[in-house]
Symmetry: C2
Subunit: 110 residues, 2 copies
């Protein structure tokens, strides 16, 4: 779970998607590669992801600026993954880019 | 998956949470009740939710305005659910309120 790096003024890229039933080949590997790649990009702040047993998932990545998101979107390896996603892996998806205005967290003591 | 009601200018409430291992009593029922209740609130636009097999989940609800989110947050039944969540159901959670600046969707023909 991202830390206190997520502050008002940063940007969230909210990606929600419904997986297709077939052709999972390469999906998990690509998913991990893209998450690892995102973490190396300029302006990256954090990422959270959950997918349920019906194949519906939400990934929210956080960035310092809209430019950082645009730069990540057009990264060549990411663009290839987006293409595979559109053709093979997703029935439908949505992307929403949003500017964080308030943020708070709760974490219990261990 | 929410439809084209999600447009620039609306607000997203991004709630991510890690469930506790114990005390699931009442959680699923409360979760369904809260989703049904949210849908009746003024300014509600849509909701998406996914929780993985490790108990990590993301729920994004969309609203017409910040006031609509504030109004939903202080709803008495919702406030009770928030309290139970903090005490029993979540190890940690974060809430980010963000203003949608861009939105696009892909949906395949059936």
């Amino acid at each position: 779970m991202p830390s206190s790096a997520i502050k008002p003024g940063c940007y969230a890229a909210i990606f929600s998607s419904q997986r297709t039933d077939q052709d999972a080949r390469g999906y998990e590997e690509m998913s991990k590669r893209m998450e690892a790649l995102a973490k190396t990009m300029p302006g990256y702040l954090g990422i959270e992801s959950a997918r349920d047993e019906n194949g519906f998932g939400i990934t929210v990545s956080y960035w310092e600026s809209e430019e950082a998101i645009a730069n990540w979107k057009k990264n060549a390896n990411h663009a290839e993954a987006q293409h595979r996603g559109k053709v093979d892996w997703y029935k439908e998806y949505s992307v929403r880019v949003a500017k964080v205005e308030r943020a708070y967290e709760m974490k219990k003591q261990r």
